[in-house]
């Protein structure tokens, strides 16, 4: 069975500094991996997805993530944080052989200070 571990429950950065949100996964098949963002009292928005094409995936709002099979990692990065990036971020895995069910990490809350 697949699983996801988000290594930090909270990350604090200053505006204009880089963002790194860490995610490790476990999967028996060839996984699809996603990052979703949830702003307070809002629904979930897809940031980016990896589906066995290029290992470096670019998403919306300047975010990107790199799939590293040897490290079973899929960390999310952004070169320069903006105040509007403050939200909760979820790393998600889906297996081809399991009715495409999504398995969510427990989330990382990103705090951005001026």
């Amino acid at each position: 069975a697949q699983s996801v571990t988000q290594l930090d429950s909270h990350v604090s950065v200053s505006e204009g500094t880089p963002v790194l949100l860490r995610c490790n996964y476990s999967s028996s098949y060839s996984p699809s991996l996603f990052w979703y963002v949830q702003h307070p009292n809002k629904g979930l928005q897809l940031l980016l997805k990896y589906t066995s094409a290029a290992t470096l995936v670019k998403g919306i709002n300047g975010f990107e993530a790199e799939f590293k099979k040897s490290e079973t990692s899929f960390h999310l990065t952004k070169p320069s944080a903006h105040m509007s990036d403050a939200a909760e971020y979820f790393c998600v895995v889906s297996d081809e052989g399991d009715f495409q069910k999504l398995v969510f990490g427990t989330g990382t809350r990103l705090l951005v200070s001026p």
């Binding site: 979703y36 979930l44 495409q100 999504l102």
Partner: protein
């Protein structure tokens, strides 16, 4: 969110009463899912459907049932609501592997 609607958006109900949440899609996607979101747990899968009348349990299915009589509607029923079922419920739809998932706006359910 475009193509997927959840109703109601908010509901307060009493312990022991049945509650039904509705997810409606206009995308004709095969797969539909119900998740619940609780602090510290992320989203956890309750039930899912891979076609009309084809459903199965997720990791937190106890106390919940679902039905899908039409492609566009996926109903989640709390048979006898308990306070532990106070949560935010999200519906999602998908065309399948490698495709994105679209989430509804959520239903905030409070059981008192």
């Amino acid at each position: 969110d475009a193509g997927i609607t959840q109703s109601p958006r908010h509901k307060v109900t009493e312990t022991g009463t049945p509650v039904t949440l509705r997810c409606h899609q206009t995308e004709n996607h095969r797969y539909m899912y119900w998740y619940r979101q609780d602090p510290g747990h992320g989203l956890r899968l309750i039930h899912y459907s891979y076609g009309v009348k084809d459903t199965d349990k997720g990791e937190v299915s106890d106390g919940y049932s679902v039905s899908r009589s039409k492609t566009e509607d996926f109903l989640l029923t709390l048979e006898s609501a308990t306070s532990s079922q106070t949560s935010v419920y999200f519906c999602a739809i998908s065309e399948g592997y490698n495709y994105g998932y679209t989430f509804g706006s959520g239903t905030r359910l409070t059981v008192v």
